[in-house]
């Protein structure tokens, strides 16, 4: 490797070397001859849907663990994929206490009040841990997708996406299909030399900002510098990205396997397009880790439901129209997920296997229903992490959700000892 990667990156990968099958962690594929049978890269998708589910119609019966369970009403659209997903029951984030935060701690397991002297605390999300290990060889180490202004009324809670960086700060990314498409596939027709010159200019602009930040840093006390650190981190992130861009200079972005989305689509169509774009991102190997904080409020509007999404999530004991709305939501979400799985199955890898064979989709929320946070809805799909598929997996009540994330990480080849508040891995999840 003669492209100078950042030192930080090198340190990260070298620590991973110890436990990982070495060939894979170094991006063996790029050096190996095409004929050598190599394992296809592993991919992870995380889809968060805020306000929980209609619990009575979404969860399989606890009395039917294993493969023989009756598919619940709300999962009917997924029937054709039955062998390719499992429902996992009994998980929760024990520190989560806010019934309106479906996504803030979903992938982190952190304790909001965990740090004295701070009114809010969070920690790195599982996707970013994975991105550190799986993201080295792709144009983007991860892709963080969001639904913008619709997130607030969709029960996601504080945050800018599902993803939180290594210091527990929220991460942002494309907020609609058009932005996502541009991030992935916008072509740059600038001549190579000019591209390099522009990149250098870009660096000098960043350098100025960095110098400015350093000058400021010298005048500030500790508290302020903790905050200013976000700025330094952001500049470092841009530099890392520029480093990547430099590595990829002269290698044009892949041809998009789909058309540029029309602007202004919201709700059902918006989610469907985002799913298509996620499949396209994996298909073109632009990234291997994606999170998507999907809209609920606008999904309801697009389904013709006029009840606001928070009230909908409290369908219990209200009029039948609320339950109706909640079920419509479940059904639409299952339909959309089913479409995504279709797509992932239809894309062929060079060795003839399907994309879904190398991908794991984690689909859920921190909220079960209303304000309930235990047995939070968790659906795992795909065969990319060696997890057991086709089953209703019933775990002991109040199993840490982070145990599931840790199991997922191990399955994807990320050899961590502990993640969040995990207490171990879950053998019942493994195939």
């Amino acid at each position: 490797m003669n492209t100078p990667q950042s030192r930080r990156h090198f340190l990260r990968t070298s620590s991973a070397l110890i436990a990982l099958p070495a060939l894979e962690s170094l991006g063996f594929r790029r050096f190996a001859s095409a004929a050598a049978p190599v394992q296809r890269p592993k991919r992870l998708l995380f889809l968060g849907f805020g306000w929980g589910v209609t619990q009575e119609q979404w969860y399989p019966s606890l009395d039917q663990p294993g493969a023989g369970y009756t598919l619940p009403e709300s999962l009917t659209p997924l029937a054709r994929h039955r062998k390719d997903f499992s429902i996992v029951q009994g998980l929760w984030n024990r520190h989560s206490a806010n019934g309106h935060y479906g996504s803030t701690f979903w992938l982190t397991g952190a304790n909001e009040f965990g740090e004295a002297g701070q009114s809010f605390h969070n920690s790195i999300s599982v996707d970013q841990v994975a991105a550190d290990h799986l993201g080295g060889d792709t144009r983007f180490d991860s892709l963080v997708l969001d639904c913008g202004a619709a997130a607030n009324p969709s029960g996601h809670g504080i945050g800018l996406s599902l993803s939180w960086d290594s210091r527990g700060k929220p991460m942002a990314g494309p907020k609609n299909p058009v932005e996502a498409f541009h991030r992935l596939f916008a072509r740059d027709d600038t001549p190579l030399e000019l591209q390099k010159a522009l990149l250098a200019q870009r660096r000098s602009v960043l350098d100025n900002a960095l110098e400015n930040a350093r000058a400021l840093q010298r005048t500030l006390g500790k508290n302020d510098n903790d905050k200013l650190d976000e700025y330094f981190q952001s500049i470092r992130d841009i530099e890392t990205r520029l480093g990547r861009e430099e590595k990829w200079i002269g290698r044009p972005k892949p041809a998009p396997p789909l058309e540029e989305p029309a602007p202004g689509l919201v709700g059902y169509e918006e989610i469907r397009l985002m799913y298509d774009l996620m499949a396209a991102a994996l298909q073109t190997d632009s990234t291997r880790v994606i999170t998507y904080r999907q809209p609920v409020s606008t999904l309801l509007t697009s389904l013709g439901v006029r009840i606001d999404s928070h009230t909908m999530s409290h369908y219990h004991g209200k009029g039948p129209e609320y339950l109706e709305a909640s079920l419509k939501r479940d059904w639409a979400q299952s339909e959309l997920l089913s479409g995504l799985l279709d797509k992932l199955k239809s894309v062929r890898e060079p060795d003839g296997s399907s994309l879904l064979d190398h991908t794991t989709v984690a689909y859920g929320s921190n909220i079960r229903t209303a304000h309930s946070l235990d047995n939070c809805p968790t659906l795992l799909a795909g065969h990319g992490a060696g997890l057991k598929m086709g089953e209703n997996i019933v775990l002991p009540k109040d199993t840490p959700l982070c145990n599931a994330w840790l199991t997922l990480l191990h399955g994807a080849g990320v050899p961590l000892e502990k993640f969040g508040d995990s207490t171990g891995t879950l053998s019942k999840l493994r195939a």
Partner: protein, 924 residues
């Protein structure tokens, strides 16, 4: 008041006097004060005591399994610390609260606590946990470095560059139940920095363009009657079409009735029973003429529906005929019923009268004028004119403003609307300004009116508004010359600029950076770096303005610009410098940078004198820019964004359209603005004998005798429900779901915002009560279920009674005496068997408080609690101003604010002045 954390009351009494002394001392000699008194900060968070009242239940019901002998689940309660001083202890108590709320403990097969005991236990423990979380999260007066939030960033760009930017790409920075000024939550991401770079470069280029063109006056007037000949021609054609169509019908019918065709026609009638259907077969009927002979086009031969459609539109010709009888058609035009939406076929006249911005009108400030009068027949509710920019496709654009038309045909009025033309108006299809009658863009509303009026007069609603002319005129720039940043730059900005002296460039870049950094000197190195960026852009082929914009966009995405830094070298709580104070004051009261006067007072240090500070505060508050304080502050303090959370059903609530909603929201701003401008008592928000309304809102509330668009206080009778926040449509509408009222939301809002007794956050994992699903109950009966479970009752016994007392306001804040519940069937259609109507019973009793029998009595009870309301306001104001949450260390300040204000009859400005003279506001 509730028994809140025991501890807060205790702290208050001990610190109150000392703080008062300290503050008056500080006002006299600020700089000395900072040196002499360094407030001692105890190490670690303060302990929050847990009430002994919780013990008996724990001992009786928990200790057996979770005590010294047995520790089921490795959890014991007997050794729990009696005060919460660290996160670990908080977690243990939280675990008890969670298990009890979830109904898991005590287990079902164990004896259960008495429901009342359990309710009190849960209430006490949840409130203790709120206090403990607050104490543990106390930032002890440290204000995290504040980034410009989204609106401050926009305001600052406007001030520096004189351009209005669309900043919706940036995160909104708003958080639920908090303020967008709180430094700790103003995060920054790499995405955002790139957005800043792109946005500021756009802003700079637009500003350069604007400033490099000399001001040229522009004016364009449009006379809507000039379109009449086109419409008259269209109308004449339509009338002719009807005549022709009827004639063709008659000719075909005559042929069909001819005796020699009888047999044939009888056969045809078997497949085409009606005369209209039969005429489709005209070719087969000997003697029937082609429609072409009657002036129709060829396609009507195949599809006579084209002819029928003209005939069916006959009533529109009646409408048009009526239109043509109206006076003053030679000098103006009326706004007609909407046409062209495919439902009504069409009148020949326009429902939207258009004023197109000519293509050669550059971006800048304009005035749009309309000379309008209302027809004598126009009813009061139809005298409102909407103004907006026509949207390209899809749904009609929401109104930008709405105007009460008080002029007549004889004496029309001239409306003036300030309008900013931006670069986006330069695109095709974004140049058409339109005027329309209120409500005519919402087909649902309009159809109802149309059918009603047509049933009455045969043709539909009489045109109500007449427009003489429309006009758009460019305004000279408000300031002599350029925006502040451009003046500081003092460089040529033209596209054709070839070379600028490097020293001049360097100096200009440096001056701009210094202004952008709010007075902090960037130093020669930064000027050099900026110059290098400029040069490298020129070297890669950029023109001068573009290269300059790139260099300056680096300034506008630098931390010294993005963060409002207040340097400190480890010294705790030092006093601000004059310059820093000027910045803090301006961003608080204007949401943007200080102007020249304030900057000068800051630089000279004069601002540190209490009398100058007080005078400047007053000046800032009286400047129109202070709405950049009132609007965001009120929106967040009162959680007004809930108004946008759902759509209001126009089917159920036709009067609450978008413009009524906007006016209702504006009422909140205007009322508070009035209190601020006239220094009226804050407590007017609890109850007042006036309401601040304009013509539109007065019409909504049915308050007679108010006209025009300006909001002003209008006296109201004592029996009116209006006056004060509780009587405002915006506040009551927030407590609904757009269709039905939500008494819980309303009760909780009153507890949070008015009584300063916020209920604890909704607990997780409480089993939902599903027992009443699908039952036909009154709202009140449904909520009674809350009282059955201690987990619910612990909060709802306080929330629900208040909600019941507000039930006379419907979902859109209109007064009602009865309510109806209509259940929907499986297809979403109203089920006629599942309908219930009841008279509203607003009587209830406040938890551990007095009973009331109606809204007015409830309002009086709430209005008596002036002190908690003032305290809640003081907390909100302080948090908004200081950019951090109030902690226990702020008790003396809050006490001081409320006491000072109380002495002044709770006059609104007394809160602000007391805050501005406080150590917390004046120091870092």
């Amino acid at each position: 008041m509730l028994p809140r954390a025991l501890f807060s009351t205790r702290t208050l009494s001990s610190c109150g006097t000392a703080a008062g002394l300290f503050l008056s001392f500080l006002a006299a000699a600020p700089s000395q004060a900072a040196q002499k008194s360094s407030p001692s900060e105890p190490a670690g968070p303060r302990a929050v005591p847990v009430s002994a009242k919780l013990r008996p239940l724990l001992e009786e019901h928990c200790q057996k399994c979770h005590g010294a002998e047995k520790q089921k689940g490795k959890f014991r309660v007997d050794d729990l610390p009696i005060s919460i001083a660290d996160v670990q202890t908080a977690e243990r108590w939280q675990k008890i609260l969670n298990a009890m709320n979830a109904g898991e403990m005590p287990p079902d097969d164990e004896p259960q606590p008495d429901p009342h005991q359990k309710t009190d236990f849960l209430e006490e423990l949840s409130l203790t946990m709120v206090s403990a979380r607050k104490a543990l999260g106390d930032q002890k007066g440290v204000i995290a470095l504040r980034r410009l939030n989204r609106r401050e960033y926009r305001n600052t760009l406007r001030d520096l560059l004189g351009v209005e930017m669309d900043v919706s790409e940036l995160p909104a920075d708003s958080v639920p139940n908090g303020f967008d000024t709180a430094g700790a939550r103003l995060f920054l991401t790499s995405n955002q920095i790139e957005t800043y770079e792109a946005l500021s470069e756009d802003a700079l280029l637009e500003s350069f363009r604007k400033h490099s063109q000399p001001f040229v006056s522009k004016k364009h007037r449009s006379e809507p009657e000039s379109e009449h000949p086109v419409f008259l021609k269209r109308n004449a054609e339509a009338i002719k079409d009807i005549e022709n169509g009827l004639a063709w019908n008659a000719a075909v019918d005559a042929a069909a009735e001819a005796p020699e065709n009888a047999e044939l026609v009888a056969g045809l009638r078997k497949i085409a029973a009606t005369p209209d259907a039969l005429r489709y077969h005209w070719r087969k009927i000997p003697g029937a003429p082609s429609p072409v002979q009657f002036g129709f086009k060829q396609d009507a031969e195949i599809n006579p529906a084209l002819i029928y459609r003209c005939i069916n539109d006959q009533f529109f010709r009646l409408y048009d005929a009526h239109y043509l009888t109206l006076p003053k058609l030679d000098s103006g035009a009326y706004l007609a019923i909407p046409n062209g939406n495919g439902i009504f076929g069409g009148t020949s006249f326009r429902s939207e009268i258009r004023l197109s911005i000519p293509p050669d009108f550059p971006p800048g400030e304009y005035i749009v004028r309309a000379r309008v009068g209302a027809a004598p027949t126009a009813p009061a509710e139809r005298r409102f004119l909407e103004f907006t920019l026509k949207s390209g496709f899809g749904a009609p654009a929401p109104a930008l403003s709405v105007h009460h038309i008080t002029g007549s045909l004889e004496e029309p009025q001239v409306i003036e609307i300030p309008y900013t033309v931006t670069r986006s108006n330069m695109e095709r299809g974004h140049r058409h300004l339109i005027f329309r009658e209120r409500g005519t863009s919402v087909s649902q509303l309009y159809q109802t009116l149309f059918h009603k009026e047509r049933a009455r007069n045969g043709f539909g609603p009489e045109p109500a508004l007449w427009i003489d002319w429309l006009e758009i005129e460019r305004q000279p720039p408000a300031f002599a010359g350029a925006a502040s940043g451009i003046r500081a730059l003092d460089l040529p900005l033209e596209e054709k600029t070839v070379s600028v002296d490097p020293e001049r460039l360097r100096a200009g870049l440096g001056r701009f950076a210094k202004l952008a950094y709010r007075g902090a000197d960037p130093g020669p190195e930064e000027a050099d770096r900026l110059l290098a960026i400029y040069r490298s852009r020129i070297a890669t082929g950029d023109k001068h303005p573009k290269a300059l914009a790139t260099a300056l966009s680096s300034v506008l995405s630098s931390p010294q610009f993005l963060y409002r830094s207040e340097p400190d070298a480890g010294e705790q709580h030092r006093l601000l410098t004059g310059r820093e104070l000027a910045v803090r004051l301006a961003y608080f009261l204007w949401g943007g940078p200080p102007d020249e006067i304030l900057t000068t007072h800051g630089q000279t240090g004069a601002l540190l004198k209490p009398e100058v500070l007080s005078r400047e505060t007053t000046r800032l508050l009286e400047d129109p820019r202070s709405q950049n304080f009132t609007k965001p502050f009120l929106t967040q303090w009162l959680s007004l964004d809930r108004l946008d959370l759902f759509q209001f059903s126009l089917k159920l609530h036709p009067r609450f359209d978008d413009v009524a909603k906007a006016a209702a929201r504006q009422e909140v701003f205007e009322t508070f603005g009035l209190l601020l401008q006239e220094n009226r008592p804050l407590t007017d928000l609890l109850k007042a004998d006036y309401a601040a309304v304009n013509g539109l809102l007065a019409n909504y509330y049915e308050i007679p005798g108010v006209s025009g668009d300006t909001f002003r206080p209008v006296p109201i009778p004592p029996d009116s429900p209006r006056g004060g926040l509780l009587g405002m449509a915006a506040i009551m509408a927030m407590g609904s779901n757009g269709e039905r009222t939500n008494p819980v939301e309303r009760g909780a809002w009153v507890l949070r915002k008015l009584l300063n007794e916020p209920p604890p956050p909704a607990p997780a994992n409480v089993p939902e009560i599903a027992r009443l699903a699908g039952k036909l109950l009154t709202a009140r009966e449904r909520l009674q279920a809350h009282q059955e479970e201690p987990q619910c009752a612990s909060c709802h016994r306080k929330i629900d009674p208040i909600g019941f007392g507000l039930e006379n306001f419907d979902a859109v804040g209109l007064w009602r005496v009865s309510d109806t519940y209509q259940a929907l069937d499986g297809n979403g259609k109203p089920d006629p068997k599942a309908r219930k109507t009841w008279t509203i019973d607003p009587s209830a009793q406040l938890h551990k408080g007095p009973a009331f029998s109606n809204f007015h009595q409830l309002r009086d009870l709430i209005a008596q609690r002036r002190q908690p309301f003032a305290r809640g306001f003081a907390v909100a104001l302080t948090e908004y101003a200081l950019g951090r949450t109030c902690g226990f260390s702020d008790e003396p300040l809050l006490q001081h604010l409320t006491q000072t204000a109380a002495k002044d009859g709770y006059a609104v400005r007394s809160f602000l002045h007391a805050l501005f003279q406080s150590r917390e506001f004046l120091s870092k």
